[in-house]
């Protein structure tokens, strides 16, 4: 357990270091903030305001010291702590990831179990095809397609943003379809493997219906595995795809904020965003690890 925690800390440290090293080499936040035909002096003045003209070591010291105290710098674009900017955007991202994984789990687990319980059936084959298609589709493009069909042409939902409850539908569906495919594959193979075990045959021969066997025994045995699969997929979400979805739907979460901050060369915010996202990945990873150990023990105990 401690080893896992230490690994998590190492990862976080790596993320922090990577972000700092990268951002310390960068160009010119001042240049972007000054008006179109600003003079050299104006830009230098703004650079001084931001502190980007200090030596690297000083900046590094401030940076790492700041992380410890929770001070991730000041957003050059919003003139308030970068962490606040990200913190404001965090709930939206969390809502989207939770809704997305819920859809993914719903689709993936349901069809995975149904398909895995009857390998080779028509349902199985079709579900496989759909899942493969889902994995071949670029997430952002799928989102755009859904916007065109449901928002622009059919006007059923808003095209983007987070203005009403309906706004969550398309983004969650996009994320869900994308990750549901992978969940489906893993659940299906786990269930199929379980179904092929001898005890199933034995139970069937004792008179239990296929559905009964699946419902009672197969699911219980593979249940925890399914849960951890969903958990891992949730970790994967934080690794990237959800941010592309945010951009497509102008969803006011961390991903959208980071991209906007990149446009404005507001590196404190980009840094803060990557760090927070990294922290969440580590946290989610840790949670799933714990879950897996619970499974492991359960399996051993059983």
């Amino acid at each position: 357990m401690l080893g896992r925690l230490r690994d998590g800390a190492v990862v976080l440290l790596l993320v922090l270091a990577a972000v700092f090293v990268l951002s310390a080499i960068v160009g010119d936040p001042a240049g972007v903030m000054a008006p179109t035909d600003a003079s050299e002096e104006e830009i230098a003045r703004i650079a001084h305001q931001l502190g980007t003209d200090r030596p690297l070591l000083t900046q590094a010291g401030d940076y790492f010291g700041g992380v410890v105290t929770g001070d991730l710098g000041e957003s050059t674009w919003q003139n308030r702590p970068a962490l606040d900017v990200i913190a404001d955007a965090l709930p939206a991202t969390i809502r989207l990831t939770l809704a997305g994984i819920a859809v993914a789990a719903l689709l993936g687990v349901t069809f995975g179990v149904l398909a895995g319980a009857r390998p080779g059936s028509r349902l199985d084959r079709w579900a496989n095809v759909v899942a493969t298609v889902g994995l071949s589709v670029p997430t952002f493009w799928l989102g755009l397609l859904l916007i065109v069909v449901f928002a622009v042409q059919l006007r059923l939902v808003p095209t983007s943003g987070d203005t009403e409850w309906k706004s969550l539908i398309l983004p969650a569906a996009t994320v869900g379809f994308e990750h549901g495919g992978r969940i489906f594959q893993l659940v299906r193979s786990a269930v199929a493997e379980e179904v092929s075990k001898p005890y199933v045959l034995v139970a069937r021969s004792r008179g239990l219906s296929h559905r009964g066997v699946v419902g009672r025994h197969v699911l219980r045995n593979s249940g925890m595995l399914i849960l951890t699969t969903v958990g891992w997929e949730y970790v994967r979400l934080w690794g990237g795809a959800v941010f592309a979805v945010e951009v497509v739907f102008a969803w006011p979460g961390i991903g959208q904020t980071i991209i906007t901050a990149t446009d404005r060369q507001d590196f404190p915010v980009v840094q803060a965003g990557v760090i927070v996202a990294g922290a969440f990945v580590v946290l989610a990873n840790l949670a799933v690890d714990v879950l897996y150990r619970v499974v492991d023990r359960r399996v051993q105990v059983a």
């Binding site: 160009g27 035909d37 600003a38 095209t159 879950l291």
Partner: protein, 513 residues
Amino acid sequence: MRQESWSWRRGLLVVACLAMVAVACGGDDDDSSGGDTGGSGDDAEPLVIAVGTEPSTLDVQAVNDRNARVFTSNVFESMLGRDDEAEIVPVLAESYESVDDSHWQFQLRDDVTFHNGEPFDAAAAAFSINRIIDPAYETQRTSYIEGIVGAEAVDEYTVEIETDGPNATLPIQMTQIQMVPPEAGAQPDFGENPVGTGPYEFVEWQRGTKISARAYADYWGEAPEIGEFSVDVIPDAQTALSALQAGEVDLVLDILPEQRDLAPESVSVPATEFSYIAFNTHIPELEDPRVRVAMNLAIDKELIAETIYGGEAAPQPGQMLTEDMLGYNADLEAFPYDPDEARDLLADAGYPDGFAITLNVPIGRYSKLEEAAEVVAGQLAEVGIEAELNQLEWNTFREDGRIPGTEAGAMDLKFAWNSNEWFDASRIISHITCDGESSKYCNPEVDDLMAEAGATLDQDARDELYQEVWAILDENPHAIYMLQQNLIYGLSDRLEWTPRLDDEYLVSEMAFG
């Protein structure tokens, strides 16, 4: 033993999950506060204006940011302003005059108070001016404070401003220096709690979402029709348009020509934005004025205006000014589209087979410019000039574009735009004098005229001098004069508003219909 560690791990898992859920639910509280701003009994919903980027601060003197201006122009006022013909008119000052070459005096109104009760008087005016010109304050509005040395109160309602030599544009500058209260203005959080003299007072700022205001009961002027408004931050253009269609937003500031039909209502107004392609006259190919005239003739600007801009642009009349701007020369016309003449001129100048050159374009900011650049390159090719498109990221473009024409690395051709919200030809001075900043053009005649114009306070004299400059440029151009773009606004059904010419958005001029 095993049982204990089991529940400890479980507990950790549960805590982690709960933490996530808690954070997610915590964010929803933002929505509930929306209902509070309309508490005064007004049954009309507040007016909503959408902007693309959240302002960094509401301290009007600090930044030169249109997104902030949309809000602050309703909360703050200056001593002078512009009417709907863009003429300078008195606002907080009743009259003004130049006392001598470097002193001006402004007579102020005596019936104005700031939203927090502080009185507006000469002391406040002097404070405001001294605040913005203070180098320690580090404003971004540097072009508006150039040449101003200081201000001081002469009596209760007279303030005197000292300039660094004759400064004919001081009145223009006074339309852009807003008045702030001495007490509140000295607070460090003024940028989050703006206090001004305008018809609306600040209510609250929900970061990332909206900034709201309501009518100020003790306003010195006419009470506005609309009681409350808010400026909502919607970074994505599609979302803003969608919100407009849904009736959640009343005004979107920039919509594409192609989207005009999608908005409930749209209106466009010629902006003070002029696109141009600056020549580096120091390179051999562009030294001869005939070559530069030829390039002006080679571009079919009307085609670009009609197609790329969907008709929401017009070729510039041979100068980067409109009729109501000082220095406008009514005798000049836009260069016609005449590729044959262009080819002849090129041959005369010694380039019968044309030449190769680089056209630098900024990307990512203004897609219409990128599209126009591609068409321009195509049209230049037809008269033999192989223009290679060099698409640069915005920051790089600015930096490289600043290299003066005489140095290595300067851009041959720079496709950019200027905005002339000063309504005055002197706004582009740095671009066309020999040692003007980032200049790529050097014509002693132009320099002399510009210097003369800068030294006088006589507006008529300046007007004539600038007209002469443009006449010279007509034969010896410093750029390919492209288009004057329109600003296209998307309006909701209920909004009644005529856009201003100076890119200001005054809710006091809006009404529900």
